[in-house]
Symmetry: D3
Amino acid sequence: MRIKIINPNTNEQMTRTIDAAAKQYRRQDTQITTVSLNSGPPVIDSSYDEALAAAGILQEVKVGLHEKFDGFIIACFSDPALQASKEISTAPVVGIGEASMLLACTIAYKFAIISMPKSAVSSMRALVASYGLESRCASVRMIDLSVGKLETELPKIKRLFLCEGREAIAEGAETILLGCAGLSGLDKEFEKELRIPVIDGVVAAVKLLESLHDYGINTSKILTYRTPQRF
Amino acid sequence: MRIKIINPNTNEQMTRTIDAAAKQYRRQDTQITTVSLNSGPPVIDSSYDEALAAAGILQEVKVGLHEKFDGFIIACFSDPALQASKEISTAPVVGIGEASMLLACTIAYKFAIISMPKSAVSSMRALVASYGLESRCASVRMIDLSVGKLETELPKIKRLFLCEGREAIAEGAETILLGCAGLSGLDKEFEKELRIPVIDGVVAAVKLLESLHDYGINTSKILTYRTPQRF
Amino acid sequence: MRIKIINPNTNEQMTRTIDAAAKQYRRQDTQITTVSLNSGPPVIDSSYDEALAAAGILQEVKVGLHEKFDGFIIACFSDPALQASKEISTAPVVGIGEASMLLACTIAYKFAIISMPKSAVSSMRALVASYGLESRCASVRMIDLSVGKLETELPKIKRLFLCEGREAIAEGAETILLGCAGLSGLDKEFEKELRIPVIDGVVAAVKLLESLHDYGINTSKILTYRTPQRF
Amino acid sequence: MRIKIINPNTNEQMTRTIDAAAKQYRRQDTQITTVSLNSGPPVIDSSYDEALAAAGILQEVKVGLHEKFDGFIIACFSDPALQASKEISTAPVVGIGEASMLLACTIAYKFAIISMPKSAVSSMRALVASYGLESRCASVRMIDLSVGKLETELPKIKRLFLCEGREAIAEGAETILLGCAGLSGLDKEFEKELRIPVIDGVVAAVKLLESLHDYGINTSKILTYRTPQRF
Amino acid sequence: MRIKIINPNTNEQMTRTIDAAAKQYRRQDTQITTVSLNSGPPVIDSSYDEALAAAGILQEVKVGLHEKFDGFIIACFSDPALQASKEISTAPVVGIGEASMLLACTIAYKFAIISMPKSAVSSMRALVASYGLESRCASVRMIDLSVGKLETELPKIKRLFLCEGREAIAEGAETILLGCAGLSGLDKEFEKELRIPVIDGVVAAVKLLESLHDYGINTSKILTYRTPQRF
Amino acid sequence: MRIKIINPNTNEQMTRTIDAAAKQYRRQDTQITTVSLNSGPPVIDSSYDEALAAAGILQEVKVGLHEKFDGFIIACFSDPALQASKEISTAPVVGIGEASMLLACTIAYKFAIISMPKSAVSSMRALVASYGLESRCASVRMIDLSVGKLETELPKIKRLFLCEGREAIAEGAETILLGCAGLSGLDKEFEKELRIPVIDGVVAAVKLLESLHDYGINTSKILTYRTPQRF
């Protein structure tokens, strides 16, 4: 199958990071194409950034439908424009937030999310709640730095992540989700330190799309994700 | 005080409807300016429409801040781009969805929302849940027509609204919220028929902004609505 | 409009405090009359005190209806006899607990309540839950002193309030509610120290009643607040 | 043990009904004394009636403490003044609402409450929620007649009760609670018709008080039910 | 009445402990018979142990029905095979987990459970949730030792229990439940130290069975506990 | 990878049905082995049947670990002994109930479960709740026939299934889950009739196990699924 991954910002390095993570765990017959937005926020740090990215994400979905992709991934943990993408797409669309939470539920009773920056904590909890998974979430913990700092302050962010990870385990977390696409590829490194499974949502999303494709099931168009009349 | 109301679509007739409702109940020293988006969806029927409207809404807030407005209203019941607007605005921002639900809680134990089209039902319930008000909501009922039909099929929509209103009352609703800005101004007409209070979110939002202004309190910028670094 | 504020105890100094707070933020055409109970508890420290105050509160509402007031405020954060008052009143009745929580939701995602004494913590949480607002409440924190100590130990209580306020912020609170009518008037002083909005429920209640009056909507009498046959 | 049952209204016939039900299922060494209020509402139909009854209930508890009763029952399904009574009493106090719900949970996964009048439906649901038992409650159904009609329209009320009972079973109820003390004594008659267990809260409360007495445990005074300083 | 208590493991000392606690608080006309399983786990430390014990528990219920017992108690706080037992039994069956939680609700607003080992914490919270009592539970705290250590390390376990009990009180607990049948009989000793009521589920279950017996009500067989066709 | 599917009853025809469904959608490099229990209930109709099957399921997991399987599926929608299996297994274990619910969440906002017999409705709802997915479940609907009737009354059961499916859609279901392993293989047939996606949990479980295997993540052993000391 052919999967298009949409990195909903203009950060090319992050796009490469995401692409590498997806390709590492894809099945042999899965093709991955990862794109950045042509214009939009450099990183997603706020609801404002999400709102600005929305039109660009949807544009990439539309283009991708013409290019006959078999599935789409929105590669930002807050799952921006996910519902709108599911509405307009005739192929399955998965967000890395939803994918990592759902997959986590098969291997742990409680997961934790470690994300950034701190101001996103309410949105993150609201996301978990909107998926109905509050009782499966032991902890939402934030690193209070802009996602943009991933390029320049990675060692510090890794250290803070492990710190928050240990706190999350003390709060009952049994698996940790990388709460930001920019952290993609660090799962196994963190897993070695924290000694519990760490899940990269990009990988989770690839695996879920492959599952849907194998099974031949697609987004239900009967109600919530009904195709808009105009688009 | 000076309030800017943003109708998040390009429909001028709806803008006039909203403006009239707001002006009918404003205090004498309140000035109302209602605008449509320059570009965007003709009406908001889906998450896709909401996503497309987001950038335009935020642009209107930014322009309005330069114009020194004292408060903003986003005049679509699904409160699109509300969190992002609260992030970037130095003046209070209120959505007509949140305003009508909060005001309803002072006069009734349970409210009902009657909105359109049917495919928005999950989003509407998710909105209520995100505000924490599920236990105050007796019923979310939908008219399965595009919001665009308000211009051409108003009598039919009024009839369907009353029908759903009666069902909502049977389900325990004690007040009915007009679940679409396009229904603005019909509150008292429906109230007469249904014999319980009917709330127009546009009016509720004006009154809440006036209340915040009188009291001199503004959006808390400490966490969820922290001002983005870039905007 | 003419608003009657009922301080549900016999403490005259608290009545003056409440009256002053209400008058500071009322609109010019709003008249405020604040009364104490003729008999009842000196302050409200327990459910027992609330139960004892109930008959007196309802008596003041009944008298106020004959005096043609346009709205009533019950000025105790635990909103004693609020439902009963809404049942018997033909004019809107607002409690300062409900008013401050609802207004808080327009300026913050999560509020905290700081109240007294400690034994009321379960009742306070139950109140929040009964309004459906658990997910909007970051923290309920208590000062373990009788409300009666407000007269003699105000400096200590202020110090404890700020202490609890800082803890509440650390727990995610974005606005603080004065959880006791006896704290009325201290909002701006605390706000200066805590640097997030602080809400006085007496003011919130006045503004909400003015909003309802302007809009011309009143308590729904169809179900929960149906007028009793005997009263 | 010696149990004082407080019928929180002035209706002597209801007091006799309650007394008879309690005595039918008491243990041999349990003495039952059932009293009406000296003054107060003739029946409890509303929150207003509950508020008016509160002072009288507390007075009866205080008198009962002097009379050395070993336990108290508040015999109205809405459990008026129950928390206040637990605060001031040195002996256990049980409400017939809480007692019937808790006992029901041992014999059924889901219970239903059938009460009266209809306007109390929100209060009744709020009561269930305040006890944390929403997920155990299949249905709250109301007969829309004043409790006062029990004397004059009993056959009609019985017919309506069975009607609602059958609806409740269709909604998943596995046991039915008599949602009004005035229905005391009809449990076995209804049980024969509905063919599922029917619980009389008066009996449930007697059995729970006997259980607490045998076990020698009493209300926890550490927080919620702390003894008030003044009473 | 004749009660059969099933200790769902093969530990004879625990059976004697349970038997003693039950007999200490039984009514004079209640006969208690306590049995261990013939084969099964030595103690219940995990879901695996619970699963292994299930068939043996059901066998003891079946034998007990032939022996004409009037009620059954499953004496393990996690209430293993409780629903299955209620399905097959014609007499009431009560688990010590459910019994202690329900009885606790009459004397405290919030209870805490102190159990063992730590890995059972999610199961314990899930049990509380399945009974609908999350909002009544202040805290679930675990001692991280196998239940099997009760024989050899009792002094240490007592010390840890009191430690966790004090933490639970700080978290708002008003009564403490002995979260393991092996702790039976220590209620009053812990109560003296912690100065709040401590509940032994074995006693609670005996008292609830006696209550059901006196009242003549039995498990509802209409839905959840319908008798299986084959057994 | 090599997957062992455990049909937790002794019904060979159901085992063949399950095996066929799993093999239809497995990847080429996945080997499926499906087994029945040697002894146990003929079908799972009740909690009693589940309890009886538990030991046999765990025995099959243990044997499978010696046979070096890479993953296990418990093929009964009520996920019997799932937690215990996760505790003892060093390879991932997935239940068809959890698998179908989690996969459903990627393609629909709300799913419905159609299962049998009617008495299992509370257990089924409790299962959904224990996974935290109540808000994603539009409806749990039951066919009131023993699972054993699948062999002899399949046409009737199919007709009833479609009937319930249409009701579920009216209640907001966007995808239907086959709530019984005995219905395996009927997904596409029902999908054609109902015109919304229908999910077979056996297939969902296979795809999730393959996903976990590809990604190289396994059950977290830190807390809930800690390996028992004895087994």
